[in-house]
Amino acid sequence: MLALINLLLLVFLVVCAVIVARTRDLLSAVIILGAYSMMMSIIWQQLHSPDVAITEAAIGAGATSLLFLAAISRTRRHEE
């Protein structure tokens, strides 16, 4: 059961990474990257490293998304 959940998390991670690379809307890409970071945080927790997990949740899903949003607000939203 636990292995199945871990497998689902990893598959979701790969799907998120592929979609981030393929989407043209940069705002959607930032939101999907936040979901990617959240999944990565849960996977770190499953790998018994809670310190990295809490840092990933704070930096990856929080601060990095906000910095990307600030960068988008200064530039264009859609990739050409």
Binding site: A53, I54, I59, A63, L66, L67
Partner: protein
């Protein structure tokens, strides 16, 4: 722009985010987390505040001087706490023999580590908030306004 739903959610959420950030910060030597994670969570709550209330309460924003004070103060606290060891005749950042160690597992049990964690947390929070504010509002935009 004045969004009532956003402001109400922010008023509910920001104290909880800050409380959680301070928990992560103060328990850095006991549980997962520490200065970097706790400082980032507190900075995220400050960024949330400055995004929601930017238009209505402009004077309540964290000014650049304040975040500069946190940054410089955190680094200065680290150096001063480290120099206390030299002052008492040990090496730099000495813990045993200078600071009271207490009981293992308690909150006040790690000597100077807790003090350094709090100082560095303030530095990280100030740095990330300044980074965001400079990126969003600093400099001149495409219209030439400051």
């Amino acid at each position: 722009m004045h969004d009532m739903i956003l402001e109400m959610i922010a008023r509910l959420l920001i104290p909880m985010i800050q409380l959680f950030g301070m928990y992560v910060l103060f328990h850095g030597h006991l549980s997962p987390g520490g200065s970097f994670s706790g400082g980032t969570i507190i900075a995220a709550s400050l960024i949330f505040y400055s995004l929601v209330f930017r238009f209505s309460e402009r004077k309540h924003r964290l000014q650049h001087d304040t975040s500069l004070l946190f940054e410089g103060g955190g680094a200065l606290l680290y150096i001063v706490v480290g120099l206390v060891g030299i002052f008492f005749g040990y090496s730099f950042l000495t813990n045993r023999g200078v600071f009271p160690l207490g009981q293992a597992g308690r909150l006040w049990s790690s000597g100077m580590i807790a003090i350094i964690t709090v100082g560095l947390g303030g530095k990280v929070a100030g740095t990330i908030f300044t980074l965001f504010q400079e990126l969003l509002e600093g400099g001149t935009d495409t219209d030439g306004n400051h």
